[in-house]
């Protein structure tokens, strides 16, 4: 058999504790993407590496809920093929207006089921 490059899927990931919600997000991408039902439910071509996932989660964390919901397709790589999160949520001491990865993935599964 020929040599292959294997990609793995996280089924258990540690939820990270972060600074209070008033902390300025480290990274924020303003690239607009259209969140269509089909795009949100589609499977990423390949599993992104951990650094990419962490960056994407940080980006999600710095975004308002309604803005994030409009870009579910952009955040689709945070979820596995079946629509379950590849990264843990960010545990906070105070309520934050942003979406958690588990909520994005729930949205992905919801759209997938429609």
């Amino acid at each position: 058999m020929r040599r292959r490059v294997l990609t793995t899927t996280k089924v258990l990931a540690v939820a990270l504790a972060v600074a209070p919600a008033c902390t300025k997000p480290e990274a924020r991408h303003d690239t607009e993407s259209t969140a269509t039902v089909s795009a949100a439910a589609s499977v990423p071509a390949a599993r992104p590496d951990d650094a990419t996932l962490a960056t994407l989660r940080t980006e999600l964390d710095g975004m308002k809920r309604e803005d994030a919901l409009a870009k579910v397709a952009h955040f689709r790589p945070l979820c596995d093929e079946a629509g379950f999160p590849l990264v843990g949520n960010l545990a906070r001491k105070v309520q934050n207006p942003s979406l958690q990865p588990s909520e994005v993935c729930a949205e992905v599964r919801l759209k997938k089921g429609r």
Binding site: T8, T9, V11, L12, A13, V14, A15
Partner: protein
């Protein structure tokens, strides 16, 4: 290292699909919606530890299968022990899914090279007997009782269903211990039985604090209240561990 789990999928996923077909069938979204703080935080700790316990049990059954093959045990006994490795991995995945639905695992520092306590005897049969007594007769027997009681506190159908699915297998895992001891009955000396009694006692002492971590003040989402825990544990120890061991000539020595 921090405890996390990952899968390769593809052909391996397809091979195991019939064993884990129910994973997608659980209403994980419902659990995520219904989980409220502080119960969710307590539950994330318990379900992360549960995933690790199941993972460690998989390692124990792998050692038991290897030990049974080394002593020429009946082949269906050896094969069943090997099959339980898959069960335990599946339970680890189910526990992981619950933890992820509740927001993700808590950081759990683990040493994967020391999952199974090495047996102390130099005799191959007694070595595997030590592993079986510790894992099946004590660990799995107590797990069945604690999980059944935990199911009563679930308050969400998803957690109750996950626990029910795990309990279904764990009862068989405990039964393997008694089957092994019955098969090995005429091969074990009185000295061996006394030794196994000490092993069982040490196992109870070492497992008790682990099980105690399954309780918390909130008593929901599969986490027992600490008040309820003690009675369940004591009853299970007498009826599920001590009595069947005594029937096989092994006195639990604490």
């Amino acid at each position: 290292m921090l405890f996390e789990l990952e899968t390769v999928g593809g052909p391996l996923g397809r091979r195991l699909a019939h064993r884990r077909e129910s994973v997608a069938g659980f209403a994980w979204d419902e659990l995520a919606r219904e989980a409220k703080e502080p119960a969710a935080s307590d539950a994330r700790i318990v379900w992360t530890q549960s995933a690790f316990s199941e993972y460690a049990s998989a390692a124990s059954f792998a050692e038991i299968a290897s030990g049974l093959l080394a002593v020429g045990a009946p082949i269906d006994l050896s094969a069943t022990a090997g099959d339980f490795v898959v069960d335990e991995i599946f339970h680890a995945e189910l526990s992981a899914r619950v933890a992820m639905a509740l927001g993700g695992a808590v950081p759990l520092e683990v040493d994967l090279e020391r999952l199974v306590r090495p047996p102390s005897s130099t005799d191959a049969l007694v070595r595997v007997a030590e592993l079986v007594v510790r894992t099946s007769c004590v660990g799995e027997s107590l797990t069945v009782a604690v999980l059944r009681a935990s199911r009563e506190t679930a308050r969400t159908s998803v957690v109750a269903d996950v626990i029910a699915r795990i309990v279904r297998d764990e009862a068989e895992h405990a039964e393997l211990g008694w089957t092994f001891l019955d098969w090995a009955d005429d091969r074990l000396s009185d000295v061996d039985r006394a030794h196994l009694g000490r092993i069982a006692g040490a196992a109870v002492s070492s497992f008790a604090p682990l099980f105690t971590r399954q309780c918390a003040g909130t008593g929901t989402l599969g986490v027992m209240s600490c008040d309820a825990f003690d009675a369940v544990f004591a009853e299970a120890l007498i009826h599920r561990v001590e009595t069947p061991l005594r029937e096989r000539g092994i006195s639990l020595r604490q």
